[in-house]
Symmetry: C2
Subunit: 323 residues, 2 copies
């Protein structure tokens, strides 16, 4: 779906889903106390965030960092208008997500056969079959929890290397046939580039239409925001990101993880694309999270450079003082 | 000049001009020995670099770090096919650039009136008049040194804030009328975003045509590569960059400086756009420069993450060993 490169092509608004509490914290060994996570959710909401992935329903012995997911969903659900999502690896996780009335459950599906076996201990097609069972269970229960599939390793894989776009297309078609509500493409290991992003979304969009509505990019090799831009240009307006760029890549120690929330919010705001983010509050929360995670590798640059003069809100107090 | 967003829109090749020896080192107090700078030029050339800005003809009392510029031009000129440029702030500098037969001299021209006065101690129009005198002197001398104007603070200014695109257009027109060979747009302080890049290049390209041929972006707020991508999409195929992202911004201590050479080269290579860079050599040079500049803030992420598996060249030795 070729679009025209003109200023009118930019969307009016875009959504940033904060996934730091799930994708970020799952790769940090330290366990943040539930009270701090609740403070994070509350402050992010106050800063304008309206979509958050707050945790993962995986066995606590695998990811003790995320063992309090049900409590976080319960708290997040008290904030009006906040869409609360959780990751679920299987039917059992999906049942827990529905029990606590999460707005959406994200099921990861690896496009890479090798990654699927290593990460999910099932082939991609076995996961597709499970997704069908999750959908059946959801409908049988009359649950309103939406099912979103995250196509991971869609742009390549550290285990098997190249991932064929045709395989991504086939799997997207399969999960749409299985009746999921929406899908997103994820560059799990930081292999995507703007050309690959444009080409893969251009391939999938005619099949998935509006049901393809999320770009999940990692900044492992510095291309996170350029990849977001490429996706934005073909019509994607919803992106995952982590505050302070937490997350990392287990295969590249010290390398950046997810796209950094505050830097992405800055790019979009600077381009005149609304995200509803309040920068002073967002950066104050970033400072708080940085303190909680002291010693962990953090990323992002806006916190250091600050907003440009052209985007700064005049300080009302200072104005009064000099009036 | 709206283009069509399709895979055929990507250029086959692009040029990265290494400006670390000038824009990078000028903002680092430490003075690198000439022998190390020569090693840098030699190794960058061996890694495939074919354009380098090696220094600046400003008084040595102002920038002692760059006092050996003439010696560096002399060495760089011995490397076949290397285009050697230097920065010149005025006619006196231009005379020195012509004396040592630099291939190009870059004259900075601030679009911001306030920045021009602070940095050049002349108004933009006074600098335009000087550029006319440089062109007259160049032609009178029969020199082959090309004149390139770098429109600095084209996207905004830390001193005056907003810079009007109409002012940039007026100045580009003025220097083209003065007979310069080419112009580039520079985001000196890291205020640009992809939308501003597209809009400003779209405004200037119909006037300047092929003579607008360089994008100089800083990564102060993380948008360096996204801005390169936006410029690439409207037809720009030549970009300035600094190895290890050296340079910084005096107004944002610790913030990133110029776009990082190795990360930019990676983005372009991953997109199938040729830059002629040999990554193992480029990263080996990066490691060397990092050692020389130990303690200075360096940037970039490719050196840490490494190339993706899909771009790695098989190691012939290893293959033999396991055969």
């Amino acid at each position: 779906m070729p679009a025209t490169l003109s200023t009118t092509a930019w969307p009016r608004a875009a959504i940033i889903r904060e996934v730091g509490l799930r994708d970020g914290l799952q790769s940090i060994a330290r366990v943040l106390p539930t009270a701090q996570k609740i403070e994070w959710i509350r402050d992010a909401y106050a800063a304008g965030q309206r979509e958050m992935e707050v945790g993962s329903f995986v066995p606590a012995r695998l990811l003790p960092q995320l063992a309090d997911t049900a409590a976080l969903v319960a708290f997040a659900k008290t904030l009006p208008g906040l869409k609360v999502s959780v990751l679920v690896p299987n039917l059992k996780g999906a049942e827990r997500a529905m029990e606590c009335q999460a707005d959406a459950m994200l099921v990861p599906l690896s496009a890479s056969h090798a990654h699927s076996l290593a990460n999910m201990r099932r082939t991609p097609d076995e996961v597709v079959a499970d997704i069908g069972r999750i959908r059946d269970a959801r409908d049988a229960a009359g649950s309103a929890t939406r099912i979103e599939v995250g196509l991971s390793t869609a742009f390549g894989c550290t285990l098997q290397g190249r991932v064929e776009p045709a395989q991504v297309l086939r799997l997207v078609q399969a999960v749409l046939d299985a009746g999921v509500d929406c899908v997103g493409l994820a560059d799990t290991v930081g292999y995507a580039d703007p050309r690959a992003v444009r080409e893969l979304f251009d391939l999938i969009l005619p099949v998935a239409g509006d049901r393809l509505n999320c770009g999940h990019f990692h900044d492992t090799r510095g291309l996170g925001l350029a990849n977001v831009l490429a996706a934005l240009e073909v019509g994607v307006t919803r992106f995952d990101a982590c505050l302070a760029g937490i997350g990392g890549c287990p295969h590249a120690p010290g390398a950046s993880g997810n796209v950094t929330t505050e830097d992405l919010a800055y790019m979009l705001a600077s381009m005149g694309i609304e995200t509803g983010q309040d920068f002073p509050r967002l950066l104050a929360l970033r400072a708080k999270v940085a303190q909680w995670l002291e010693g962990e590798p953090l990323h992002g640059v806006l916190w250091r450079a600050g907003l440009p003069k052209t985007m700064q809100v005049p300080d009302a107090t200072a104005a009064t003082a000099t009036a």
